[in-house]
């Protein structure tokens, strides 16, 4: 609250600095702004930036780290009664003290006697430290804002290059944003690598990558050291691959043909109706596809297979019939097909762009040779667009590999090494979700294995994306 208020004041102060800077510049130019190096607003912006930006940064830092600071100071000194507690209970004690100080609900632990006195003392201390941190931040920020204006205003004059300075600030902001994005990515990768490294200390990387049995639960029992056999990721990758394959078998032809239709055959009206519809399909959240798979497609497929099984039973294919009768709602086929449907708009719109990028002159050249539309598509357009289409397919594959929701809901959770699309399988992403959801301790091989899986998946999709981008680049060069 106080932070917001001070930010508001700061904004008003910056506005005042803007007007001052602008006015000063205009005055220096004697009202004729053409004599100024930059437009008058730049002088205002320059003053406002110096007045507002450093102080705002300080306030933000205070808001973000003030709590941490207060906590550290509070915990630095521990009364004897508190030190006697177990580390867990000590944490509860301090969090209760801070909660009471901040007028929030503490835990239900009752404090008596010496502990109660210590708690009251710590509550008072917490309030004091919070106030000190807060007011000193505000005071410091005011000072910085004032100094900023006092530094900036005198520089405003006829020759001063305010535009360049302001652009420098903006440049810095842009750099900061892109650096933030890069750093975040880097941080994620590093944490992935770090946790995976911890995991690979207890599980041999080779047996992880090439083991054929996946049952992380075994390692849960305290008396049992993680047996390396239980962390074989092959069934997971096989399941991922199976579902991806089914999905691509659906998405690749349908997406590609619809792209060909849209870009080469559809009339303008048709195109302007179908394209938005496809884009809506692309906008459906995957969880919706997930329950579409689990509640509609799954039972439908099951009923279908059971019906076929009922016919086959007793005949020469009795075994097959028996098997089909036992098919469940959850199977790789359902997840794959629904994922394929999800990928259709993705493949189609990427391929459509790529086909449209084939120069019209090639089409004209082919038509002028007396080629029909289908000959032109088959012999000129598709070969020319093939590298790009391949890249689109690879991007779709990497999406299929990373997709989680549909598989969780439609393919089951059992890690089976099978190529049977009617069986339940599980994928890498689904395992990561099941390993990490709920209360977990992040030091058992069970949870750490999620990072191993994540890292492997990351490497695979990264490789796919790099290959895809390379192909696209190469293909772009061809027409330039």
């Amino acid at each position: 609250m106080l932070t917001w208020l001070s930010l508001l004041f700061l904004a008003l102060f910056a506005l005042a600095a803007f007007l001052l800077g602008r006015g000063r510049a205009l005055k220096a130019a004697g009202g004729a702004s053409v004599r100024l190096h930059s437009l008058p607003n730049y002088y205002g912006a320059y003053a406002a930036l110096w007045a507002g930006a450093p102080a705002a940064l300080l306030l933000l830092l205070g808001a973000v780290f003030g709590g941490r600071l207060e906590e550290a100071v509070l915990q630095a000194e521990r009364p004897a009664a508190v030190s006697a507690l177990t580390p867990d209970r000590q944490d509860v004690f301090f969090s209760d003290a801070r909660a009471i100080a901040a007028k929030e609900a503490p835990s239900e632990v009752a404090y008596e006697g010496e502990l109660k006195t210590a708690l009251d003392a710590k509550v008072a201390e917490s309030r004091k430290i919070t106030a000190i941190v807060r007011y000193s931040t505000i005071g410091l920020a005011s000072l910085v804002a004032l100094i900023g204006v006092l530094l900036a205003l005198p520089r405003v004059g006829l020759e001063f290059r305010a535009r360049n300075r302001v652009e420098g600030w903006i440049n810095g902001l842009l750099i900061a944003c892109s650096v933030a994005a890069v750093l975040t990515t880097l941080g994620i990768v590093l944490s992935l690598v770090w946790e995976s490294w911890r995991f690979f200390q207890s599980v041999n990387p080779l047996s992880f990558l090439f083991g054929t049995e996946w049952s992380p639960q075994i390692a849960m029992r305290a008396d049992q050291v993680a047996s390396s056999g239980a962390f074989g990721a092959v069934p997971l990758f096989a399941g991922t691959f199976l579902i991806m394959l089914i999905a691509m078998l659906v998405a690749a032809p349908v997406g590609l043909y619809s792209a060909i239709y849209l870009s080469e055959y559809a009339s303008r009206g048709m195109r302007s109706t179908i394209k938005p519809l496809l884009e809506i399909l692309a906008g459906v959240p995957t969880v919706v596809y997930g329950f579409f798979a689990a509640l509609t497609v799954g039972p439908l497929f099951r009923a279908g297979f059971n019906a076929i099984g009922a016919v086959l039973i007793g005949g020469p294919l009795d075994g097959v019939g028996q098997y089909l009768m036992e098919v469940q709602n959850q199977m790789a086929l359902v997840a794959g097909v629904v994922m394929g449907i999800m990928l259709i708009p993705f493949v189609s719109s990427l391929s459509d762009d790529i086909i449209n990028a084939v120069p019209q002159s090639l089409r004209d050249g082919s038509y002028a040779m007396g080629a029909t539309k289908s000959e032109t598509v088959k012999r000129v357009i598709l070969p020319a667009a093939l590298p790009g289409i391949m890249a689109a397919m690879l991007l779709a594959v990497s999406r299929a590999v990373g997709e989680t929701m549909i598989v969780t809901m439609a393919a089951g959770l059992q890690a089976k090494l099978t190529v049977n699309p009617l069986d339940t399988v599980t994928t890498v992403t689904v395992q990561i979700v099941t390993l990490l959801t709920g209360d977990q301790e992040f030091d058992s091989p069970k949870t750490l294995s999620a990072f191993g899986l994540g890292l492997t998946l990351f490497v695979v999709t990264l490789a796919l994306n790099i290959i895809a981008l390379r192909i696209v680049q190469k293909y772009r060069e061809q027409y330039d």
């Binding site: 002159s361 090639l362 089409r363 004209d364 050249g365 002028a368 007396g370 000129v380």
Partner: protein, 296 residues
């Protein structure tokens, strides 16, 4: 009666001409062959292409107005005129490439060997195999040189066996004057050739199906003088076998390669006639202004 007095020609023919072109409106080639051509460059007995009352619209905008033109066989006809006057539009009428532009609408009669190209019975695919086209910017397919030239013969089933195809590719490349330069790299991409070589490659591609007419839309505009000279030489050679129509912005090129010239202006065919005469003694003041470089 001389050609320098085309009004007399009109009188002899006994009907008004739709435009001022010198041989437009000639009902029967027989009459025309009776007309001395002056310098005797146009020695053809008849016309390959006859266009009458051609109007073309792009949406509501009319791009060509009542164009009537006869194009002789086995010779080169040049279309000249300022940018946007409809030269390409008219050229595309001849092989119905305007069909590929959704907004384009073509009216009037264009006959090749007496058969209307716009007739319902005419399949544009078949028509285009008889009327080849070379574009302003060379547009080889991103395939090998061999595949580029073999494209037409393959899709039209002219040749299916490998040795037949090879023979056609070789003879087409030879006719296009490219064989010596590419004989040892037939299976490398056609896009890897230089601009001039690419243009000769697409000419080879066009003549591989033995068309009767070759339409060229500014074939040399992207080329340097040496490549241009080669193409012009090639056009001159091809003249003995094909009916060639070329759009050009270079007066000098029109004068060098063509036997007949047609001048378009603002969608109308202003004047047409033997090239030498058009350049030495144009009838219309607009033609005069254009070829002397006063506008356009």
């Amino acid at each position: 009666m001389t050609v320098t007095n085309p009004n007399a020609l009109a009188l002899v023919q006994g009907h008004a001409m739709p435009t001022q072109n010198r041989d437009g409106g000639v009902a029967a080639p027989v009459i025309h062959t009776a007309v001395p051509q002056g310098h005797g460059v146009v020695e053809t007995r008849d016309f390959k292409i006859r266009a009458r009352d051609v109007n073309v619209f792009y949406g509501d905008k009319q791009a060509l107005f009542d164009v009537a033109l006869d194009i002789p066989a086995k010779s080169v006809t040049a279309f000249i005129g300022p940018s946007g006057c409809g030269k390409s539009t008219f050229l595309r009428c001849i092989n119905r490439m305007n069909d590929t532009i959704p907004s384009a609408r073509v009216q009037g009669a264009i006959e090749i060997d007496g058969a209307d190209v716009n007739a319902k019975s005419v399949d544009p695919v078949v028509l285009r195999s008889r009327v080849g086209m070379v574009f302003q910017k060379p547009n080889p397919f991103p395939k090998t040189i061999f595949e580029n030239v073999a494209y037409g013969p393959k899709i039209h089933g002219i040749a299916t066996r490998k040795d037949e195809l090879e023979a056609i590719v070789e003879s087409s490349l030879k006719k296009a004057g490219l064989w010596n330069e590419v004989a040892d790299r037939l299976h490398q991409p056609g896009t890897g050739l230089s601009g001039g070589q690419q243009q000769r490659l697409v000419i080879a591609r066009a003549i591989a199906v033995s068309p009767e007419v070759i339409l060229m839309d500014e074939p040399c505009s992207a080329l340097d003088p040496i490549a241009t000279a080669k193409i012009e030489e090639l056009i001159d050679e091809l003249r003995s076998q094909f009916c060639i129509v070329i759009v050009t912005h270079s007066m000098a090129q029109a004068a060098r390669v063509s036997q007949k010239t047609a001048f378009f202006h603002l969608g109308k065919l202003v004047e047409s006639g033997p090239t030498e005469e058009m350049f030495t003694n144009p009838r219309d003041s607009r033609t005069q202004d254009y070829i002397t470089g006063r506008f356009g």
